[in-house]
């Protein structure tokens, strides 16, 4: 049972840490997901380029999606996958709008620097 392969669909299910390397478990996926999310967050916080910031938010999106799929697999149901399909669909629409906004912002200031925009300053 411990050695059950990924192909059998049982590997992630209720499996403790594997004793041998080479088999991916829930924690592996969560670790990758967390790493992606952290990279996205750090990128978002440190960069000033609007397009790079937008890419970083997409990275965080996909990290969350990966975690959901992994959890879905872990619980042996399709909820996670279903949810991610929705997220991807909406992210596609949102990406189209966000990029259009970036283009508009660029046209106004001829720059992609996010710090040029501070209209909310109280």
């Amino acid at each position: 049972m411990i050695q059950a392969g990924f192909e059998t669909g049982l590997l992630l299910a209720q499996a403790p840490f594997p004793e041998a390397m080479g088999a991916a478990t829930l924690n592996h996926y969560l670790f990758v997901s967390a790493a992606m999310f952290a990279l996205g967050l750090i990128g978002f916080m440190t960069r000033r380029n609007l397009i790079i910031m937008f890419l970083c938010t997409e990275l965080m999106f996909q990290a969350a999606g990966l975690a959901m799929i992994a959890f879905g697999r872990y619980h042996m149901n399709f909820d996670g996958q279903t949810f991610v399909i929705f997220v991807l669909t909406i992210a596609a629409a949102e990406a189209a709008m966000a990029l259009a906004l970036v283009v508009l912002l660029f046209r106004k200031r001829e720059s992609l620097d996010a710090d040029l925009w501070a209209e909310l300053k109280g």
Binding site: L41, F44, M45, R48, M53, A114, D115, W117, A118, E119, L120, K121, G122
Partner: protein, 760 residues
């Protein structure tokens, strides 16, 4: 039996002589005449084609529009198909036995049932109901549509192309809708046709959609009709709840048996007067009577053939048809409340519209007001129990008013849209306008009630009956008679005012403002002839404009219609029920015996017996102590002559220029009255003031409520946090994106730490 027939598909449509509906005639009249078998398979199918052919023509014209047809083909195809429709109506009429009701079922339209009790099922099938009344209407609807379609083929020729297709598409659709209205087997079919003709009227009034006045007029017609239609709709629903049916056959059966769906006697219910009044509201809306008439004069913005067919001859008589069709219900009320309202509504409208017509200068508007006035006569005729007179007047009026409108249209067509009678004079002498003048004269004589014309006979039937009907039936009906007699004089005056100013007298004309430049076959020779013969008139200024004489199609139609207007008089002497129209009414399901109606019904039956044709049974009123039927011919003839004579003196005798006449001096002498009449008694302004303006004010109020209160609440939810942060922590609002992101992350981190502490 009926149900089985109505279930048959269209392919197997057939007719039957409906014995049950004969009950509507009063059993005594045609007892034993039932089941005179006729019709049969082919007859029914042919009758079904009468409305379906115009529908097919409308579809065909639409198809031609898709192919961007640029010839007169849509017109000729329409005229041909409408002509076939007319011939089928004629065949149906000739094959009709004079009293039966023929019902033709096409397909199930509405057939519902939600229980077994009375009033728990609704049947309104796509079926047709032929009796004298619907046949009479269909004869002139299809006949006039064919003729006016031919006229329009030339009149609309400057729009050949998409506009032409649009015109004839709506034209054919109108004939289909009107057929549904008239031939429908139930009130819902009538309503379907009623709304259909309203739509087509709207489309055709607004035909010149780039002209604001035309678009506004279409809108006005539609909106004003909606108000009346509400009455018709409620009346129809109330009919259903009262009788448990909307089919004429079973309705008339219930009414004649004086029962309702609950079994209560009909004449003791409130519905017996409420339903007729509600239906009357619909009829007054469609037929432009009191309170509702304001849309019809504006509807003259449409092309003239439309004014002739829809807004003079056919659609506006739909209200008269509705009242005539439902006559058994109107006379079921022993107090005749609704009919009294119909009488006075009609008589007052007739007078009111005539006073306005006297002071207008636009000859087409004058004809529009005269239509309102004549429709008033028809309603008054129905009201005073002279169904025959009212219906005969519908028939004769259809022909002579179409003649008048088409003559005006020929003038409008020839003089670039000029309709002002102050700017046209002596058209009789303009080459090519002789036929128009003669047709106009015949139409005017009919409208003025000149002795021995069709209009004279049909109007006199109404007038005589108004004096004959006792006050116990219709309150003060003889006063309505006097009012209508006075109106007859006014009618003769304003009719011949147009004729004397526009068609005779010195030659003078000014072109209208319609651009007819590059407009086809201007008759160069005729134009040259005018210039030669009127060189000495140069002072009158023709501005190089050449009138455009009507071509063969318009002239032909004018000749046929003028001839029909004359011949219609002969119908008065046909048959033994007060003329041909009387025979048709007598042979319809709506026939009733006037003497047996109202408060005196019982007494009259008691003393004079049952015969419908026995005039001794009629409780006669008198006029100046004499029998109205005998003296009315002389009185109304004299009134007509007086009206024409005044018009002659004021507008013809000694007139040297188009614009000057003795009447203009007289108008200045009575300036306030004249100004008010010319301003149409400012009814439009009054309606604007009491209805349109308050609505606008209210809509502005609602607009500001929406903007300030509703939007304000929404803005509050967004504004409050901003105000809060601005006052509590102004330094935190840096406006820099990363500051906000950082604080959000910090917030999430705090939440995570708290959760972790709580969980572990």
């Amino acid at each position: 039996m009926t149900g089985a027939i109505l279930d048959t598909a269209f392919a197997a449509a057939f007719a039957l002589a409906e014995p049950a509906a004969d009950a509507a005639h009063g059993a005594a009249t045609h007892a034993g005449d039932h089941g005179a078998g006729h019709g049969g398979m082919s007859g029914g199918a042919l009758m079904a084609l009468i409305p379906l052919l115009p529908l097919f023509a409308a579809a065909l014209v639409g198809l031609l529009a898709c192919f961007n047809e640029k010839s007169k083909l849509p017109a000729y195809a329409s005229v041909g198909i409408l002509g076939v429709s007319f011939l089928l109506t004629l065949i149906t009429y000739l094959g009709w036995d004079g009293h039966s009701v023929i019902r033709v079922g096409l397909w199930d339209w509405i057939s519902l049932s939600w229980g077994d009790g009375v009033g728990e099922s609704l049947t309104a099938n796509f079926a047709f109901y032929f009796d004298g009344l619907s046949l009479l209407w269909m004869l002139f609807v299809t006949g006039l549509a064919t003729l006016i379609g031919l006229y329009a083929s030339e009149y609309m020729s400057h729009d050949v192309g998409l506009g032409y297709c649009r015109f004839f598409g709506a034209f054919n659709l109108f004939v289909f809708s009107m057929s549904c209205l008239v031939m429908g087997d139930n009130l819902l079919m009538l309503f379907l046709g009623w709304e259909g003709v309203g739509l087509c009227s709207y489309l055709l009034i607004g035909y010149y959609y780039k002209k604001k006045a035309a678009v506004d007029a279409g809108m006005k017609a539609f909106v004003v009709n909606r108000i009346g239609d509400l009455g018709l709709l409620i009346g129809t629903l109330l009919t259903f709840t009262t009788f448990g049916s909307v089919e004429y056959a079973s309705l008339f059966e219930s009414i004649n048996a004086n029962t309702t769906a609950t079994g209560a006697p009909l004449d003791a219910t409130w519905q017996v007067w409420a339903i007729p009044l509600l239906l009357m509201a619909g009829a007054f809306g469609k037929s432009a009577q009191l309170f509702f008439y304001v849309w019809l004069p504006d509807a003259m913005e449409g092309p003239t053939p439309v004014s002739a067919l829809i807004h003079a001859a056919t659609m506006v008589t739909a209200g008269v048809y509705l009242v005539a069709r439902m006559m058994p219900l109107y006379v079921a009320d022993s107090h005749l409340i609704a009919l009294t309202v119909v009488t006075w509504g009609g008589a007052i409208t007739a007078f009111w519209a005539a006073t306005i017509a006297m002071a207008q200068y636009d000859i087409k508007r004058i004809m529009g007001y005269s239509t309102i006035s004549q429709l008033g006569y028809m309603f008054a005729g129905l009201g005073v129990l002279a169904t025959t007179g009212g219906v005969f007047h519908v028939f004769t009026h259809a022909f002579f008013k179409a003649t008048l409108f088409l003559s005006c249209g020929a003038v409008m067509h020839g003089f670039a849209g000029q309709l002002d009678l102050r700017k046209l004079s002596g058209l009789w002498k303009v080459p090519g306008f002789q036929i128009v003048t003669i047709a106009m004269l015949i139409g005017c004589l009919n409208l003025a009630g000149f002795p021995l014309t069709a209009g004279y006979f049909s109007k006199d039937m109404i007038l005589a009956e108004a004096f004959t009907t006792p006050d116990s039936q219709i309150g003060a009906s003889s006063w309505a008679g006097w009012l209508m007699l006075l109106t007859a004089g006014l009618t003769a005056y304003y009719t011949f005012r147009v004729f004397f100013r526009v068609f005779v007298g010195p030659v003078e004309y000014h072109a209208g403002d319609e651009d007819h430049g590059g407009d086809h076959e201007v008759d160069a020779e005729a134009a040259a002839a005018i210039d030669e013969s009127h060189e000495d008139d140069a002072a009158h200024g023709h501005h190089g404009f050449h009138p455009h004489a009507p071509g063969w199609a318009m002239n032909l139609v004018l000749v046929v219609l003028a001839g029909a207007s004359i011949l219609a008089a002969g119908l008065y002497f046909v048959g033994d029920h007060h003329g041909w129209a009387g025979g048709m009414v007598h042979g319809s399901a709506t026939y009733f015996d006037p003497a047996h109606v109202g408060d005196h019904a019982a007494a009259v039956i008691g003393e004079a017996g049952e015969s419908a044709d026995d005039h001794a049974a009629h409780a006669h009123g008198t006029i100046l102590g004499m029998d109205p039927h005998k003296v009315m011919y002389y009185i109304s003839g004299v009134v007509g002559f007086v009206g024409i004579g005044i018009a002659f003196v004021l507008h013809f005798a000694g007139r040297t220029e188009a614009a000057t006449s003795k009447a203009d001096a007289l108008a200045r002498a009575i300036e306030p009255v004249h100004r008010w009449a010319e301003g149409k008694w400012f009814v439009d302004e009054f309606y604007n003031f009491i209805i349109v303006t308050p609505l606008k004010v209210i809509s502005h109020l609602f607009h500001w409520f929406d903007k300030l209160v509703i939007d304000g609440i929404v803005e509050l939810f967004g504004g409050a946090p901003k105000v809060g942060s601005d006052t509590l922590a102004p330094a935190s609002q840096t406006g820099v994106l990363h500051d906000y992101a950082l604080r959000m992350i910090a917030g999430v981190a705090v939440v995570l730490v708290v959760v972790a502490l709580v969980l572990y």
